[in-house]
Symmetry: C2
C-alpha cells in the first residue's frame, strides 16, 4: 500500500510526458503549457487509491488516472473562460495568454484526449467505466451551469447550493475513487460505498473551503481571505446567514453586498459570527466527514488497506472538534 504522497509522486512522474502531438503548435502548445503548471493531482491519485484499496494497481488505472486529470484540466480551461480568470496557480490562463477561441478548442481536444486514454481500458470493464465517466462529465457541466445561474440570482437555498457543489465538485472525486475500485475488481456494494465516501468528502471539503474564506488564518490559507465575500459569492456561510439572520441583519448584509464599503469583509464576518454561521459550518463539515468515514469503514476490505485514504481525507479536510 502506498501513501497519498508516494502515489502523488509516482503519478506526477507518469504524467510529466507530452500529451499531444507537436502540430498545430498553436493548439497543442497551450495545452502542454497548461498541464505543466501542476496542481495537486488529487483526482488521479484517488483513482489509483481506489484501485489499490482492492488489488495491486493495474496499468488500466494509470490510463484512467491520466484521463481523469486531463478531464479535470479541460473543465479548468473552460471554467477560466467563463469566470474571465486571468490567472490559474499564479500563471496566465489559456484564454488570457492565447485568446478565447484557442482556449475553447484547447479544452475540447483535452476532453477528447481523455477519451482516447479511456479507450485503452480492458474490454471487460470499458463500458462500465465509460458509463460512469460520461455521467460524471455531464454532471460536472451541469454543476458549472448551476453555478453560473446562481451568480445572477438574488438568493439560493441551502439545498440548491448543496446540489450545485455536489455536481461541480463532489461527483468527480467520488467517481475517480469508484473508477479505480472498478478496475481493482471491487463488487457493487464496495463500489457504491467508496463513491459515497468520495461524495461526502467533497462536500466536507467545500464547506471547509467556504469557512476558511471568512474565518481562515490568512497566513495558512492559500487564497485571499474574504475573496468570496468581496465577490458576493453565495457560499454555505452566506446562505446560512440569510436563512437565520434577523430582519435588521439581513438588510445590513444586503447593503454591504450592494455598496462594497472598505470594511466589507470585517462587517460581513461579524454578521456571520452573530448568526453563528461559523459554528454551523464546522458542524456541517464534521457531519459530512463523519458520514464519509462511516462509508469507508463499511467497505469490506482489511482495515489496514484503508489507511492511505483515511490519511488523505484528514489531509484534505481537517477535523474540528
Amino acid at each position: 500500500m502506498l501513501s497519498f504522497a508516494e502515489l502523488s509522486q509516482q503519478f506526477s512522474v507518469y504524467f510529466s510526458q507530452k500529451h499531444f502531438p507537436a502540430e498545430p503548435a498553436s493548439l497543442y502548445g497551450p495545452n502542454e503549457y497548461f498541464l505543466k503548471n501542476g496542481g495537486k493531482r488529487i483526482r488521479p491519485v484517488l483513482c489509483l487509491m481506489g484501485n489499490e484499496l482492492f488489488d495491486e494497481i493495474k496499468q488500466d488505472a494509470w490510463e484512467m488516472a491520466t484521463a481523469i486529470e486531463l478531464f479535470h484540466n479541460f473543465t479548468l480551461i473552460h471554467d477560466d473562460i467563463m469566470d474571465n480568470a486571468p490567472l490559474r496557480r499564479g500563471q496566465e490562463t489559456i484564454h488570457k495568454k492565447y485568446g478565447t477561441n484557442t482556449a475553447i478548442l484547447a479544452g475540447d481536444v483535452m476532453l477528447i484526449a481523455a477519451y482516447e486514454l479511456i479507450n485503452n481500458v480492458s474490454l471487460t470493464v470499458i463500458r462500465q467505466v465509460q458509463n460512469l465517466f460520461n455521467t460524471t462529465a455531464k454532471e460536472v457541466c451541469e454543476g458549472q451551469q448551476y453555478d453560473l445561474d446562481f451568480e445572477g440570482r438574488e438568493s439560493v437555498s441551502f439545498q440548491e447550493y448543496l446540489k450545485m457543489i455536489e455536481l461541480k465538485t463532489s461527483v468527480l472525486l467520488a467517481a475517480s475513487l469508484k473508477m479505480g475500485a472498478i478496475l481493482g475488481g471491487a463488487g457493487q456494494r464496495n463500489q457504491d460505498l467508496i463513491y459515497e465516501f468520495g461524495r461526502k468528502l467533497g462536500l466536507a471539503f467545500q464547506v471547509q473551503d467556504d469557512y476558511l474564506d471568512a474565518f481562515g488564518d490568512p497566513g495558512k490559507f492559500g487564497k485571499q481571505v474574504g475573496g468570496d465575500i468581496l465577490a458576493n459569492k453565495k457560499t454555505f456561510l452566506l446562505i446560512h446567514a440569510f436563512e437565520t439572520a434577523t430582519g435588521i441583519q439581513k438588510n445590513e448584509l444586503k447593503k454591504l453586498m450592494q455598496e462594497n464599503p472598505p470594511d466589507k469583509i470585517k462587517k460581513v464576518v461579524e454578521i456571520f459570527s452573530n448568526c453563528k454561521s461559523d459554528e454551523w459550518a464546522l458542524q456541517l463539515k464534521n457531519k459530512f466527514l463523519d458520514e464519509a468515514f462511516q462509508h469507508l469503514e463499511d467497505i469490506a476490505v482489511l482495515s489496514k488497506r484503508k489507511a492511505p485514504l483515511k490519511e488523505l481525507a484528514e489531509f484534505l479536510v481537517k477535523r474540528d472538534h
Copy 2:
C-alpha cells in the same frame, strides 16, 4: 437498399426525440433548441449508408449516426462562438441567444452526449469505432485551429489550405462512412476505400463551395454570393489567383482586399476569371470527384449496392464537364 432521401427521412424521425434531461433547463434547453433547427443530417446518413453498403442496418449504426450528428452540432455550437456568428440556418446561435458561457457548456455536454451513445455499441467493435471517432474529433479541432490561424495570416499555400479543409470538413464525412462500414462488418481494405471515397468527396464539395461563392447562380446558391470575397476568406480561388496572378493583378487584389470598395466582388471575380481560377477549380473538383468514384468502384461489393452512395455524391457535388 434505401436511397439517401429515404434514409434521411428515417433518420430525421429517429433523431427527433429529446436528447437531454429537463434540468438544468438553462443548459439543456439551448441544446434542444439548437438540435431542432434541422440541417441536412448528411453525416449520420453517411454512417447508415456505410453500414448498408455491406449489410442490413444494425441498431449500432443508428446509435453511431446519432452520436455523429451530436458531435457535428457540438462543433457548430463552438465554431459559432469563435466566428461570432449571429445566425445559423436563419435562427439565432446559442451564444447569441443564451450567452457565450452557456454556449461553451452546451457544446461540451453535446460532445459528452455523443460519447454516451457510442458506449452502447457492441463490444466487438467498440474500441475500433471509438478509436476512429477520437482521432477524427481531434482532427476536426485541429482543422478549426488552422482555420483560425489562417485568418490572421497574409498568405496561405494551396497545400496548407487543402490540409485545413481535409481536417475541418473531409475527415468527418470519411469517418462517418467508415464507422458505418465497420458496423456493417466490412474488411480492412473496404473500410480504407470507403474512407478515401468520403475524404475525396469532401474535398470536391469544398472546392465546389468555394467556386460557387464567386461564380454561383445567386438564385440557386443558398448563401450570399461573394460572401467569402467580402470577408477576404482564403479560398481555393483566392489562393490560386495569388499563386498565378501577374504582379499588377496581385497588387490590385491586395488593394481590393484592403480597401473594400463597393464593387469589390465584381472586381475580384474579374481577377479570378483572368487568372482562370474558375476553370482550374472546376478541374480540381472533377479530379477529386473522379478519385472518389474510383475508390467507390474498387470496394468489393456488388455494384448495385453502391447506387445510393453514387446518387448522394452526385447530389452533393455536381459534375462539370
